[in-house]
Amino acid sequence: MEKMIIINGEKYQIDVDSNMPLLWFLRDRLEITGTKFGCGAGLCGACTVHVDGVATRACVTPVGALADKKVTTIEGLSVDGDHPLQKAWVENNVPQCGYCQAGQIMNAASFLQQNPTPSSDEIDNAMQGNICRCGTYQRIKKAIADAADELAKEVS
């Protein structure tokens, strides 16, 4: 039977070696390139996507293990770049080169799902797997805190 995977709401056939990491299935097979390669070893977070809503390092996740799973990449996080985190990223002018930012936003989105009212230390803990070599950490932290406040307002 053919194995299928759902990416940003679309069904795709897993027609590659099942050991191929999701990152390369996305980037080279499907040519969905918003998810980035930084280290290939789970060390930098540049490749972070959601698998069934949970932040996952695509570079160390074999695509064969994701049959019938729902994957969300930065391209599918929101309809029009209007996720509260994306808005907070614009508001706080977070990116410099931007290369790490898809991973940062995806990691933060999954984190806020689990912890909508994080403390400063909790943000640090959750985000320390995501490297930004340009050094945008201060703004990332502020943007996550702002987005959390925004989400809290939406809920109340």
């Binding site: 070696d17 998810t35 390669f37 290939g40 290369y99 490297i131 340009c134 201060q138």
Partner: protein, 726 residues
């Protein structure tokens, strides 16, 4: 496009767009390299374009390469300001590699603003004059009775208005002004304001394309392993296991191309996706002949550099009488400072797509210097540089690494062999192990002071493998030119001597963000702090004394501006209330002038035994008239992150000729949980604008070192302070 008008200054050209509208081109020296300021001396040729369409849309080409430093926001916004254009109607496009057309594109040395700002502003101002002239003609009035504002021209008396779109084609027929007056500070709309990164919407949606993202029909993917030692050669290769992997297309041996920025040599595997290529590279059975650098060991080498600077070395500069100065001094002090190799490690590793055909060669690359790609590929392929077409993509960080196009040369070699477009993406491991490293270094300073602490003599010996070795492998010590920051340090030292110690290169050395300022900033600001304690003065009072007593007429501006930023940083950091801090906390100061900008940092730390926690950084900058407050602030925040990594932990270690570090677990760059609060203070300055991509990195390490000393009495003279053992 036909040339309609040309100013007698041969500086600006106006023409009519094929689609209607005005195009302005600037003539700029094409050959001014990024690291020189005397741009005027070269020949003139047409440069970056401003296009105004009939619908009012403005397109500004950015000839300089964008890697996160924000040049493609700062420069175009300044043009828009001079034009009185509406920034919302401006689109910025990255120009292809073409120095004939866009002027010098090599993006490094924090030089883009220094070299490009004035001509770009003049182009914008000229466009405005021509738009006003066009409107005046329509209304049959004097241009002086009209003015421009937010994308339109107005006639005060009659209240008439014509938009830039309506005027564009007519404006193209007006005479290019001989001279233009640039706006005064009070009239700025965008210069000096807070302007968002113009790529931000694409970035947050994952739509911006980088060097790794180019896709073409029939694209093949390659991975590579390099010869681990500079100068080594392939002895034998067995690629049977690699070729047996499904999806592998070919194995390509790439010979070392011994010209600057050519490949060090390696073996590549081509496959139908990057992952397969990476897996197959691991299956290659390679035996290298490691050659003459096989014994390079950074621990031993650093110890040798220390010896070389603690003994007499080759004279570079001498002023006054050093021996007399030191002999007559009330007190003397000696110290040796050292630092290790660094690798740039941008988040996007080296990557490009190249398609070599019989009659063409097309490149899509994350690069800082498209002209160097043209030069290297022309030489490799035996073609003309102009026949190499280079599309510059966004760089996912670069920090100096992507100035060197060895990775593009390799992609070209592979494409030529397999006759197809190839994307070569280096793995993180290759990126770490095959760099152009920041120099390992040692400096020895001996100084004497009088009873008041005034400097009576200063000896400064330096040894590091120079970047010059890339171009002249026979160079075995820093060149005299490498000493300019040392010889001209703004303390007005009369009895002075600088000496260059032997330091042969055993690996490739390259520009790394802030370059030599990293270790010069460290030695000068650390040693000055040590002298302050020797003189029994607090470090800020002492620094002010040195600047105030500087009578060297050539150093007055440097001294005054350095003094201003360091006092600003100190004040903002709470320097004068620092006696209220807990016992284990302290503030350290440092200031460094580099790339014609001034940056001071005040770093507050908490020290508990061996544990150093950075709590707050106040950074004060004087970069002349700041262009974009957002970009300038971001550069300083980022510089603290990079400065902190290199001060505390990151170091590239060589053993048996090869780099030992491989990935982020053993090249531990800073992460979010260790970051201090960073406050950036920008001096309101009327001086000419200067760049900020690099200058922020230098002052962090010495400010931290000085803070740790103040808090704990422990003096760190070797960076990184706490290297990870690998």
């Amino acid at each position: 496009m036909s040339i309609a008008n040309e100013s007698r200054r041969k500086f600006l050209k106006a023409s009519t767009l094929a689609t209607g509208g005005l195009a302005i081109s600037i003539h700029l020296p094409a050959h001014a390299i990024a690291f020189s300021d005397n741009a005027q001396e070269s020949t003139f040729s047409p440069n970056a374009f401003i296009h105004i369409q009939d619908n009012g849309d403005v397109l500004i080409y950015c000839g300089r390469c964008e890697m996160g430093q924000g040049i493609n926001t700062a420069l175009p916004a300044a043009v828009a300001d001079e034009m009185d254009a509406d920034w919302q109607k401006v689109t910025v496009k990255q120009a292809d590699g073409n120095e004939e057309k866009y002027g010098p594109q090599a993006t490094g040395g924090s030089a883009s603003i220094r070299v490009m700002l004035t001509p770009m502003r003049e182009a914008g101002a000229s466009a405005k004059v021509m738009l006003i002239a066009a409107a005046a003609k329509v209304w049959n009035v004097e241009p002086s009775t009209c003015h421009a504002q937010k994308h339109a021209v107005y006639h005060q008396a009659s209240g008439k208005k014509l938009s830039y779109g309506e005027l564009a084609s007519l404006a193209a027929k007006q005479t290019v002004p001989e001279t233009v007056t640039l706006k005064a500070k009070k009239d700025f709309n965008y210069i000096g304001k807070f302007i968002p990164n113009q790529n931000i919407e694409q970035i947050i949606k994952g739509q911006l394309t980088y060097g790794v993202d180019t896709k073409l029909p029939g694209l093949k993917y390659a991975a590579i392993v390099h010869c681990p030692v500079l100068g080594g050669k392939l002895k034998s290769l067995n690629d049977k296991d690699a070729r047996a992997i499904k999806g592998v297309i070919d194995v390509v041996v790439i010979d070392r191309l011994a010209i600057p920025y050519g490949s060090i040599g390696g073996v590549a595997v081509v496959a139908d996706n990057s992952w397969t290529a990476q897996q197959a590279v691991k299956k290659l059975n390679i035996d290298w002949d490691l050659g003459e650098n096989a014994h390079y060991d950074t621990k031993k080498y650093k110890a040798q550099l220390v010896k070389n600077v603690e003994a007499p070395a080759q004279l570079v500069t001498e002023r006054g009488n050093l021996t007399e100065g030191l002999t007559n001094a009330a007190k003397t002090l000696k110290a040796t400072y050292t630092g290790g190799h660094l690798v740039h490690a941008p988040m996007e590793p080296n990557a490009s797509v190249v398609w070599v055909k019989d009659d063409s060669c097309e490149v899509w690359a994350a690069t800082q210097s498209p002209a160097d790609i043209q030069k290297v590929l022309a030489q490799f392929l035996g073609r003309e540089a102009k026949d190499i077409e280079v599309h510059v993509t966004m760089s996912g960080g670069a920090f100096g690494r992507k100035f060197k196009c060895d990775y593009v040369h390799e992609a070209a070699a592979i494409s030529q062999k397999i006759n197809a477009p190839v994307q070569l993406t280096w793995t993180r491991e290759e990126d770490t192990k095959t760099g152009y490293y920041h120099s390992i270094n040692a400096q020895h300073i001996e100084a004497g002071i009088d009873e008041q602490g005034n400097i009576k003599g200063w000896l400064h010996r330096v040894a590091f493998p120079s970047i010059g070795t890339l171009f002249n492998p026979a160079q075995i010590r820093p060149s005299d030119g490498d000493f300019s920051a040392v010889d001209n340090y703004p303390y007005g030292i009369e009895n002075f001597r600088s000496e260059s110690g032997e330091a042969k290169a055993h690996t490739r050395i390259g520009w790394y963000r802030a370059v030599y300022a990293i270790f010069y900033g460290f030695s000068f600001s650390s040693f000055t702090d040590e002298l302050a304690y020797l003189a029994g003065k607090d470090p800020l009072t002492y620094l002010n004394q040195l600047y105030d007593n500087n009578t060297n007429p050539d150093q007055q501006e440097q001294a005054a501006r350095s003094k201003h930023v360091v006092n600003l940083a100190a004040k903002k950091a709470g320097w004068f209330e620092r006696d209220k801090l807990p016992k284990n906390q302290a503030i350290g100061l440092a200031v460094h002038y580099s790339f014609q900008s001034y940056v001071a940092m005040a770093v507050r730390v908490e020290v508990n035994d061996e544990d150093i926690k950075v709590l707050q950084v106040d950074s004060a900058i004087d970069c002349g008239q700041v262009l974009n407050v957002n970009g300038a602030t971001a550069q300083m925040e980022g510089a603290v992150v990079m400065g902190m990594g290199l001060a505390l932990r990151t170091e590239v270690t060589f053993r048996e000729g090869a780099v030992v570090n491989t990935n982020f677990h053993n090249y531990p760059v800073m992460r979010i949980n260790e970051m201090p609060q960073v406050n950036v203070h920008i001096v309101d300055s009327e001086h000419p604008s200067t760049g900020l991509g690099e200058p922020g990195v230098a002052p962090f390490a010495p400010a931290l070192s000085n803070a740790v000393f103040a808090a704990s009495g422990k003096r760190y003279r070797d960076i990184p302070f706490k290297p990870m053992s690998v």
